[in-house]
Amino acid sequence: MPEFRALLSNESEMAQRIRAHDWAATPLRAPQAWPQSLRSALSICLNSSFPTAIYWGPELRLLYNDAWAFIPGPRHPDALGKRADEVWPDIWHVIEPQFQSVFATGRGFATRQEMLPMQRHGMPEETYWDYSFTPIAGEGGEVAGIFNQGQDITARVLIERRSRLMLAFSDQLRTLDTPGEVLASGLELAGSHLGVERLFYGNAPPESEAIRIEACWSDKALAPIAGCIPFSTFGEDAQEALRRGESFAVADVESDDRIRTASVRDHLAEMETRALLLAPVTRNGTCVAALVAQQHTPRLWTSHDHYLLRSIAGRLWHELSRARSNMALRESERRHRLIFEQARDIIFTADLDQRISACNPAAADAIGLPANQIIGRSIGEFIPAEEFHKTTAMLQQKLSEGGMTRYEVSVCTTGGRVRQWDINSALTIDLDGNPIGLHAVARDVTEQRAFDEQQQLLINELNHRVKNTLALVQGLALQSFKQGRTIKEGQEVFQARLGMLAAGHDLLTKEKWEGATVAALVADATAAYADPPGRVLAHGDAVVLTPQAAISLGMALHELGTNAAKYGALSRPEGRVTINWALGQNRSFSFWWQEAGGPAVQPPTRQGFGLRMIERALANDLNGDVSIDFPNDGLVCRITAALPEPS
């Protein structure tokens, strides 16, 4: 038959196979007997470059072209001439009703993105197809066969699905704030989408060659795991793949000859793992993290699975980094906010127009206004005009020379109080290096300055007193070493006077420089003559003298005592000194020193320093009259003074 020869002279693989096939053993019988309808259809089939098959006769015997040959997988070339139900037991439940419908109705059928769960390689796989069944009318008009054209669109469907998933994945993860949330949500989404039983993510610390599990998701079939899993747990090949940054799949642990060693099998058995897929995350060529999918049943991992797991692993790494740096940023922000809020130092920021942009509670307290009544106002509103010129000049200096400035400024706080602030300030620089404002830390140094001033006053006063004391000592020295005294006598007198001066100071120090009582002064000055008792008889009112008066009276008593011991009553055992004092009306003070029982008194020809000093110092410091008389039976010193009202 010329057409049939022409038909079979087609040099395609399938034309040759059809020619060589033993058709006589099938219900179709020898090709020479094939009806015209089949021949025509087969001619179109073999000449088409589109995947095309013919299911002929009631048994749906299969004929197909080269383009269709890869569709049944390893079932080609044996599928030729076989019944449809023999070729497609795995999807028969889907396509049988479709064949039936075409036979019954005589109308063609077409479907798009039909999922056919094929098991071409011993394990189920999801495949997607666009295909049509077209009835071929036999010689009698009945449906004699079905013309099938179809296209595997699995790759396209999966790519679309992958894109959608990755988009959803990114959208969902992007909104999460913490690494924990990112991991939990990401693993759940990926695990359920991939239909795996366990999915865990871990980082691989440098040089560790191990995955430190950070989070694990699992469905009911497998329990979650934790800990640190060395790459070698999955075998040498897996270890090598991870080192190279490649994914690694095992469809069935029991039949995979890369899983050789007993220890690896034991490890995987412990994890109840029959199938696994490892997807590393690589940075600079090394594995830094990995996503691991596991099943307790065998699973044929598709390139889609590989690609998807790697994409998800990469995305998880990225989102985790983002969440971690956000968290670090928030933590840092929180820490700095806390320092800002709790600092006792005054902290504020301002823009380049010196408008305050933020201030801490310490600053608000110092100014005496709530922060929201400070922010937005110019620095110039809180300091005098000349001080604002100073801060403006400082800002200009920072803008032209950079660095920090430190200066003191008077600040007007609420209630009109002016405080002295010691301010440290520097420019705030944006990421491009442009100045955008300034930040300042200040301390209220008003008290410090007042203290410094007070300190200086005290130092000056002390200096004065020391100098004055030295002048006093100088005077005592000059007076002691003259008047024809020998050096030894001069030394004795000088030492006695220095002692008296020191005692006067002691007394005042004891009384905190607030003055001393006359009784205490008398007791102090006559203590040296108290033995035997009765030599000095002292009695008087309770009178407190001012410090200056106390020193004068103390010195006077000392001079009188020294004089008495040397020349007067106290130079003899039977001599007596009687001391009386009283405070009368209007604080009139009177004081007597009377000596008796001493040698006959000779009035001095020239009054010595000691007595001169007594007269003048007392007159001066007590603002009174002093008289020293020398009757024959003993020296008498009388003092009358009007004491100031006690303060």
Partner: protein, 127 residues
């Protein structure tokens, strides 16, 4: 000391709040040939003496029991009387107006006292 204006015979108003120091100054002044013709230990006494006493030159303690004696200095300047300051403080507390007046810090020696007096008398003599 040959180039110094002689100070012998000068009558001095001594303003000093500390008796011992006043007595010492008195002795020193006598040693160099001066005579203390008036004394004061408070601001009011000093003001009164500046007006009424007979003296050629004043020794003025800047601080009299905590009271500054500057009013006395103004009075002396107005009267054209030469004077010198004495103090334990150094020159602290003095108006700039008295920058030309000698300040003798305590404790002073006879030599510094003598030359300061000499300078003060000569300054006035020239002025």
């Amino acid at each position: 000391m040959s180039d110094q204006t002689p100070v012998a015979g000068l009558r001095v108003l001594l303003v000093e709040d500390e008796v011992v120091i006043a007595m010492t100054a008195e002795d020193m002044l006598e040693e160099i040939g001066c005579r203390v013709s008036a004394q004061a230990s408070t601001l009011s006494e000093a003001m009164e003496q500046a007006d009424n006493a007979d003296f050629d030159l004043a020794l003025l303690d800047i601080n009299l029991h905590g009271v500054m004696s500057i009013p006395v200095a103004h009075k002396l300047r107005d009267a054209g009387k030469p004077f010198i300051f004495t103090t334990g403080y150094g020159a602290i507390g003095l108006d700039d107006a008295f920058g030309d007046i000698a300040v003798v810090t305590k404790p002073y020696t006879m030599r510094t006292l003598s030359s300061a007096i000499s300078e003060a008398v000569r300054g006035i003599a020239r002025g």
